[in-house]
């Protein structure tokens, strides 16, 4: 499902955090939204996911103004995983994943869909475990299953790899890659530029609430651009289309 | 100065009637004075009598409302101070020491004590027509043999309280020809009675206590729909609230009304 924003502005506590952002995301693409802290990554994702309402401009899902799409329908189109989602109750894993089906009511094949989603993130064996008994990596995988269970055409995740070990990071990124390859529009906010360069088709670089650059990793990840935005000197070592990002020093 | 003017007038008016100024340090004697004595002879009563609870008519403005302290009355220089059996004892003693005439009026918890109370009041107040009439009426009623018990009654007062054999209310019921079911059950003083017990006792007459014009959960039992049948069949009698704090005022009247109630109940059966 093609997704785009038109002159999108967002206000938070009286402060403009997004300035007339214009961009588009295509099906089958895995896009990483990168930028320093406070650049507006989370704000952009939350607005796209419909958690926050824009102050001006609009989000378009499949060419339709998202503001006029009913909340339940929009929830069926877009699945969103916030930066830190901690379940309030010690739900069983399967029940937590089933919460992703809420926008669909109570589908008859609920149990199968939950199992399928858990299998996709390699967590089927955890189905009957309480979420409070999971490790950080296991919890992330389960939450990812919650994201996938509804089969929404647009997936948005805010720093899904934060606080995970390398193996789990790769596992997670592979899953997102597969989803994009299957034709979904996938948007991730990422801090790890190497991961972004390795897995993503497109990079959206934000700074101060404005998109600075957009394009393929090779075009965006240049020492000049990144150094400018982050205020560091750095270099990218490219090998077979895979970049290794090496921060050198503060500018 | 403007503010002081009414005060001067007030003091002058008190001076003018200095011959016969009576002060009361007791709620019940307050009420007796207000009912039976010309208002200009009353110098002071307690503040309680001015509260909504006890005030029946507007109080004359010149009456000073005391809080039971000797120094308040000192200023008024009353000819006679009435005190009850309990309360304000320190003020009474102090006033006595200072040479004021202080009269103890005994409290009344039975018909016999009621006569004594009225007698004591007559002794200190002198000739008083309504007081004598009330005393004579009471004596006449006491002289009559108690009516035979032909009906049963049970008192249900605020907070599910009923009255046993040692209480004035019981005496009134008995003399009016009612069997007090609480006393029959062995209650001597006050006792709690649940609605279930009221229903199970099946009294012919349900006796409620007055003074429930303001809302309180305490009156919830009396308002319970289960008692509606008593109201519907007119088998309810309401005791005036004065009976609880100054029976001398109303005891004779209540006794007559209760007797009539019993007769009307008997006539219905």
């Amino acid at each position: 499902m093609p997704v785009s924003c038109r002159d999108l502005s967002l206000e938070r506590r009286g402060r403009l955090v997004l300035h007339e952002v214009n961009c588009a995301f295509s099906p089958g693409e895995l896009t990483a939204v990168v930028g320093p802290n406070g650049a507006g990554k989370s704000s952009l994702l939350e607005t796209l996911a419909g958690v926050l309402a824009p102050a001006a401009g609009r989000v378009e899902l499949d060419g339709r103004d998202a503001a006029v799409i009913p909340a339940a329908e929009r929830a069926r189109l877009c699945a969103y995983l916030p930066q830190s989602e901690s379940p309030a109750w010690s739900l069983d894993v399967a029940d937590l994943v089933a919460l992703g089906l809420l926008p669909w009511g109570r589908p008859a094949d609920r149990a199968q869909r939950v199992s399928a989603a858990l299998e996709r993130v390699d967590a089927l064996h955890l189905a009957n475990r309480a979420v409070t008994r999971l490790s950080g990596g296991e919890l992330r995988r389960v939450q990812l299953a919650r994201l996938l269970v509804g089969r929404a055409p647009l997936l948005i995740a805010d720093e899904p790899t934060a606080a995970l070990d390398i193996r789990h990071q790769l596992q997670l990124m592979h899953t997102f890659r597969r989803q994009a390859d299957a034709g979904k529009t996938v948007l991730l906010a990422l801090h790890d530029l190497s991961l972004a360069a390795r897995f993503c088709d497109r990079i959206l670089l934000l700074h101060g609430g404005r998109p600075i650059a957009r394009g393929a990793p090779q075009d965006v990840f240049t020492p000049a651009l990144i150094g400018d935005v982050y205020g560091v000197s750095c270099e990218f070592r490219w090998r077979d289309g895979v970049a290794e990002f090496v921060p050198l020093d503060l500018l | 100065m403007k503010k002081a003017f009414p005060l001067v007038l007030l003091l002058l008016s008190i001076q003018a009637t200095a011959q016969n100024r009576i002060a009361s340090l007791n709620l019940c004697t307050d009420q007796l004075l207000l009912n039976w004595i010309a208002p200009e002879r009353i110098a002071s009563i307690t503040w309680l009598s001015a509260t909504d609870q006890y005030r029946k008519a507007p109080l004359p403005e010149h009456i000073y409302l005391n809080r039971g302290r000797a120094e308040e009355l000192l200023r008024l220089d009353p000819d006679l101070v009435l005190v009850g059996q309990y309360g304000a004892q320190r003020a009474a003693g102090r006033l006595r020491q200072l040479g004021f005439e202080v009269a103890d009026i005994p409290d009344a918890y039975s018909l016999e004590q009621l006569s004594e109370q009225l007698q004591a009041l007559e002794n200190v107040l002198g000739e008083n027509a309504p007081l004598r009439k009330q005393r004579q009426l009471l004596q006449k009623l006491l002289a009559q043999p108690p009516a035979p018990e032909t009906a049963s009654a049970l008192i249900l007062s605020a907070n599910n309280i009923t009255y046993g054999s040692g209480m004035l209310e019981h005496q009134l019921l008995e003399r009016a020809g009612f069997e007090n079911l609480a006393a029959a059950d062995g209650a001597e003083q006050l006792r709690r009675v649940s609605l279930e017990e009221v229903i199970a006792a099946q009294p012919d007459l349900l006796v409620l206590y007055g003074g429930d014009k303001d809302f309180a959960l305490a009156h919830l039992a009396e308002r319970h729909p289960v008692l509606q049948r008593y109201f519907d069949s007119d088998r309810v009698f309401k005791l005036p609230s004065e009976l609880s704090f100054c029976p001398a005022l109303v005891a004779a009247e209540v006794l007559q009304q209760l007797t009539e109630k019993r007769k009307s109940l008997a006539a219905k059966q």
Partner: protein, 335 residues
């Protein structure tokens, strides 16, 4: 596992009937239950009147109020995502009680109170709504347990002080001593009129909460996730706030504030519904009804000069549970 849980819930529901029978047999007067039942509603016989007009409405009121408090507690915990949330603890009941006190002791005479009976629960619901709104705004959503309890304790203390003040200056001379009824609750001398007064509002509250059950489920993931699942806007929190206010407010209007039911009950039954905040509402209503009915049976059978306050009984059960919560929290388990 799930089957066992449903069995346990079924057991709770089945227990309600013998408890009701026990309540009907409890009282200061011993009655012939079978005969009274057979005599029926319209009978004038003493036993039948005691059964149908006194014991049955009181027992049903205990069930209704218990259900409302249990459900209100479950909804409040779900909405604030915090297991320490409880209507009585956080001042919601006090808000309702204050409004009821102002109306009853000041506002109207007896006659008006009887004719405009609806005013009482409506005002109490208004009071509860204001209080629960205050807690919600003051603590913020997803607040830490300490901030929530701090806000709630402050609101509750303030409202309780206002209650005492209002009763102190009430025209009735009985008012002052009645603070204890309002703070600890009472079902004594209640009849069908109170039951019928509270029932529609508690039912309406249950309906509102029923509409909000999926919101509460989604909210277990947090507010942003709930919004992304389609539960956006003020509609849903207002639904829950209204549901809590209606059920708890109406219950408080007729029975005073009865504490701890809303705290203990959701905790006890949460494992039985696999922590599902939606099903927890009904399970808590069921268990709350049972708990309060049992507490009232204890009250009725307690031998003493004064009737034991039902809030004291629930606090007796609830306070140790609170201790246990704290201790298990210190052991590092999820609170």
């Amino acid at each position: 596992m799930q089957q066992n849980n449903n069995l346990a819930l079924g057991f709770l529901a089945a227990l309600l009937l013998p408890a009701l029978l026990a309540a009907l047999m409890s009282g200061p007067v011993s009655i012939d239950l079978g005969a009274a039942l057979a005599q029926g509603w319209h009978s004038e016989a003493g036993d039948a009147v005691i059964l149908w007009q006194l014991r049955l409405p009181r027992a049903l009121l205990a069930i209704l109020v218990g259900a409302a408090l249990g459900m209100g507690g479950a909804a409040m915990q779900g909405m604030l995502r915090n297991p320490l949330a409880e209507p009585a603890l956080l001042g919601v009941s006090s808000g309702a009680a204050l409004a009821a006190i102002l109306l009853l002791y000041y506002g109207v005479s007896w006659g008006l109170a009887r004719e405009n009976g609806w005013l009482l629960p409506l005002l109490a619901i208004g009071g509860a709504f204001c209080a629960v709104g205050c807690v919600w705004l003051l603590a913020g959503r997803g607040a830490s347990a300490s901030r929530l309890v701090l806000a709630g304790v402050a609101i509750n203390a303030f409202l309780s002080a206002l209650m005492a003040l209002a009763l102190n200056y009430a025209p009735s001379m009985f008012a002052m001593q009645e603070i204890v009824f309002w703070l600890l609750g009472s079902l004594a001398n209640r009849g069908w009129d109170q039951l019928l007064l509270a029932l529609p509002f508690i039912a309406a509250g249950a309906l509102l909460l029923f509409c909000a059950r999926n919101y509460l489920r989604a909210l277990s993931l947090g507010e942003a996730s709930a919004a992304s699942l389609g539960f956006r806007g003020r509609r849903y929190p207002l639904l829950v706030l209204g549901g809590i206010a209606a059920s708890v407010g109406a219950a408080v209007a007729v029975a005073g504030t009865i504490g701890f039911v809303g705290l203990v009950v959701p905790h006890l039954v949460r494992p039985l519904v696999r922590q599902d905040p939606g099903r927890l509402l009904w399970a808590s209503a069921l268990a709350g009804a049972l708990l309060l009915l049992l507490a009232d049976i204890l009250v009725v059978n307690f031998v003493g000069a004064q009737e034991l306050r039902i809030g004291a009984v629930t606090a007796f059960i609830g306070a140790p549970f609170f201790f246990w919560l704290i201790v298990s929290g210190r052991r590092g388990q999820a609170l």
